[in-house]
Symmetry: C2
Subunit: 281 residues, 2 copies
């Protein structure tokens, strides 16, 4: 697999690179961003935090707006930010041009229904293909953490819960906690997976928590002024489910904060320290 | 003067607000952003840092990408980010639709040539009208600092040098240091001010430094990998001029950094501390 370097920008003594590559999993070209902290130039074998972004985002939102590089440079964390769906002329989007399905809205699952199943396999891309690429091309170890925002928070939780042992740390900002029971999730799952709701359970954090053997601690921040809170995100369902099965969850409701990157930036340092404590341990 | 609140987002315990108002100076509606740190809710009389953005920017670039709120919240600094030009259906832009003149490219001067002189008076807006508005509507003092990037670095330097005593602290990122002698400046000045180069000296940092009585210390960061460095920005002319007249200038050339907000974010904390040392002193 070859990587085409698109751009490089020095950032807090390290480097923000963007690359294009052909994804065999997604059957299209994909762009991702990687932040390499200064320690990468010393040949260190660094842990990697994967960041999954939300609806409509690309690799750029997090890198431009979260302000994560300052502390990542201090902690020696590599951060990898993939795109949020397959892209390109061959990849079908929402039939109505909506922003909450299709392009920019891959929901980090493996679709089973056509025409989506051809390209929409973001779970396998994020969990398997992209880490293999990162671990073959950068001075990193196989110590992985995963986090994300909204649809990407859902993605982070599902990727970790479905793959015990693959991630050593896990967190999320305002995740879609119970997609089987919210409008964004129901629309996406019905198309990507079909109408049989039993199949949805494999991609729903709350359902996965009930079935989980591994008890990887989860840190979640959720703004109380988030306009999507009650209808789409449902942190209280996450809290109740985790409590019922005894899964370690730190869910922090943050008064006044909304769904934006101003919220993420305000708490990203806590998440980076949460990941570094497990990944550098 | 009335302020219309457009949006509010909690950020590091404080608030990022965007407002629209009618500018009598610019004869159009203008949008600006203000970051109020948590101390503002305690009725404190806080100092204000004005941030002037570069070509093509609005009030949003700095607030979204610089990562300044974290330390501003700690230092108790208010930050105000105006737009980069007058806007609206009555405001003429570049006749050829270029991005380096007109809309998004007001160059923080008072134009004297038509059709620009009607609206393009960003200097008076930034130095007089906007601070009056801020000081009448927010819990701030008249202790002001000013900084900016590229065209906005030029703006910050010129605003402070033309108005001795009005600002207590001054810095810039990659400023257009000698606009009378670079393509961006020559194009803009010839249109806004006319072909008489003597009139340009009032808006050129290097010319103003020679004439200055006040010796307000200047902090400048400049990326060495900035693609605009030699042709447009000319930090060495700034260095030589400051040295010649004994103006206190700390010019830091930063190896590997470019002209982007990744560069600004990497060094914004040093600038905030530079301003806070003078403004909180």
């Amino acid at each position: 697999m070859s990587l085409e370097l698109l751009s490089s920008q020095k950032s807090f003594g390290g480097w923000h690179h963007r690359y294009r590559h052909h994804s065999a999993t997604l059957k299209c070209d994909m762009v991702f961003a990687v932040y390499l902290p200064p320690q990468a130039e010393q040949g260190a074998s660094l842990p990697v935090l994967y960041w999954l972004s939300g609806l409509t985002c690309t690799d750029e939102n997090f890198m431009q707006k979260a302000g994560a590089q300052r502390l990542a440079a201090e902690l020696g964390l590599v951060i990898v930010a993939p795109d949020t769906s397959p892209r390109g002329p061959d990849v079908p989007g929402d039939p109505d041009g909506a922003w909450d399905f299709g392009l920019g809205a891959g929901f980090y699952l493996n679709a089973t229904r056509e025409p989506w199943a051809q390209h929409y396999r973001m779970h396998d891309y994020v969990v398997l293909e992209l880490p293999a690429l990162i671990e073959a091309n950068f001075p990193v170890s196989d110590r992985r953490g995963i986090s994300g925002h909204s649809m990407g928070g859902h993605g982070a939780l599902v990727c970790a819960l479905r793959n015990p042992g693959r991630y050593l740390s896990l967190s999320a900002f305002a995740p879609i906690s119970n997609p089987s029971n919210c409008p964004w999730g129901e629309k996406a799952f019905a198309r990507y997976l079909g109408e049989d709701r039993d199949a949805w359970r494999e991609w729903d954090t709350c359902a996965l928590l009930i079935a989980a053997d591994e008890r990887l601690p989860i840190l979640v921040d959720q703004g109380e002024a988030d306009s999507f809170l009650d209808v789409q995100l449902k942190p209280e369902v996450l809290r109740a489910t985790a409590a019922a099965v005894g899964h370690p969850l730190t869910l922090r409701l943050q008064p006044g904060y909304d769904h934006s990157y101003y919220f993420i930036a305000s708490f990203i340092d806590d998440h980076l320290r949460h990941h570094a404590a497990a990944l550098n341990g």
